[in-house]
């Protein structure tokens, strides 16, 4: 088959991604699992680059690989000694979960394979080279779509999302803080 840079990059990142996520799931030690999760997030960021979604990639690195992972690690740290030595065990219904996942995945993949919506190419060397519609790839466009007061944009949802975040923060504080006796 005709090999180009994009596909090579894709395959590499894909393998890393899948492997890392498998590690997250299968690791016996939850700390290792959390570390593997960082790799997953990174690889995902790579994929976004590959799909010329630079902004998403950056945000991914910042929020996931940064904030969320740190949160998770804190949580693990705070609850460490609860699960004993095997800190990341399987439940008794793992086989059922596996079955469901395999069948579901198979179903989705089958659907992808047969769906007309899935025909087409996602990446293109042109876009990778950076010379596309407007400067800065899709970032500017994304910005316009998100914040532009003049044309069709997602300002309102964005604000709502911020409210959601605020609520989440308050909620997290309320839930997480020690109730004083």
């Amino acid at each position: 088959m005709h090999v180009d840079l994009a596909s090579i990059a894709f395959w590499v990142i894909a393998i890393v991604l899948v492997g890392a996520s498998l590690a997250v799931v299968l690791q016996r030690n939850i700390v290792h699992a959390a570390l593997a999760l960082i790799v997953v997030f990174g690889a995902a960021a790579g994929i976004y680059i590959l799909l010329n979604a630079e902004f998403i990639a950056i945000v991914q690195v910042l929020i996931y690989a940064g904030a969320v992972t740190i949160l998770i690690l804190f949580a693990i740290m705070l609850t460490q000694h609860s699960m004993g030595r095997n800190s990341n065990p399987f439940s008794t219904q793992w086989w059922l979960a596996a079955l469901i996942c395999i069948l579901l995945g198979g179903g989705i993949i089958y659907a992808v394979g047969h769906s007309v919506m899935a025909i087409g190419t996602a990446t293109s060397p042109v876009l990778l080279a950076g010379e596309g519609s407007g400067v800065g790839g899709t970032v500017v466009r994304l910005g316009q779509l998100l914040y532009s007061p003049f044309q069709y944009s997602y300002v309102l949802p964005f604000e709502i999302a911020s409210v959601v975040l605020l609520v989440a923060i308050v909620g997290a504080i309320m839930i997480g803080r020690e109730e004083e006796e």
């Binding site: 180009d4 994009a6 894709f10 799931v25 990446t123």
Partner: protein
């Protein structure tokens, strides 16, 4: 020529299922959370892939709705992660465990 959309979609599906498996089969609440995060990422991948495929089909009015969605998903995911972890901590304080096998609060 580039990588086909299907490849990304399949990748998303595979990762999603792995995350789902994690979420369904682990007993540690934190690792369930991690599984959920993986699922979210898989969804993001799918959305972005769609976005850029559309972009590739009609570059003029480049539609980035998928990416917009991804942004919101990430936002919500962050919020969800924080709240979820706070809850895990709270439950841990109450029952001194985060083994979901021992937590059956979801029955009346």
């Amino acid at each position: 020529m580039g990588v086909s959309l299907q490849a990304f979609l399949v990748l998303g599906a595979v990762v999603f299922c792995i995350g789902l498996f994690g979420a369904l089969s682990k007993r540690n609440a934190v690792s369930i959370l991690m599984g959920i995060e993986i699922m979210l990422n898989a969804v993001n991948i799918t959305l972005v892939a769609f976005a850029s495929s559309f972009l590739h089909q009609q570059p003029k009015n480049n539609p980035l709705t998928g990416q917009i969605f991804a942004v919101f998903i990430i936002t919500v995911a962050a919020a969800e992660a924080s709240v979820a972890l706070a809850m895990i901590i709270a439950i841990y304080r109450r029952r001194n465990t985060i083994d979901v096998g021992e937590i059956n609060l979801m029955r009346w």
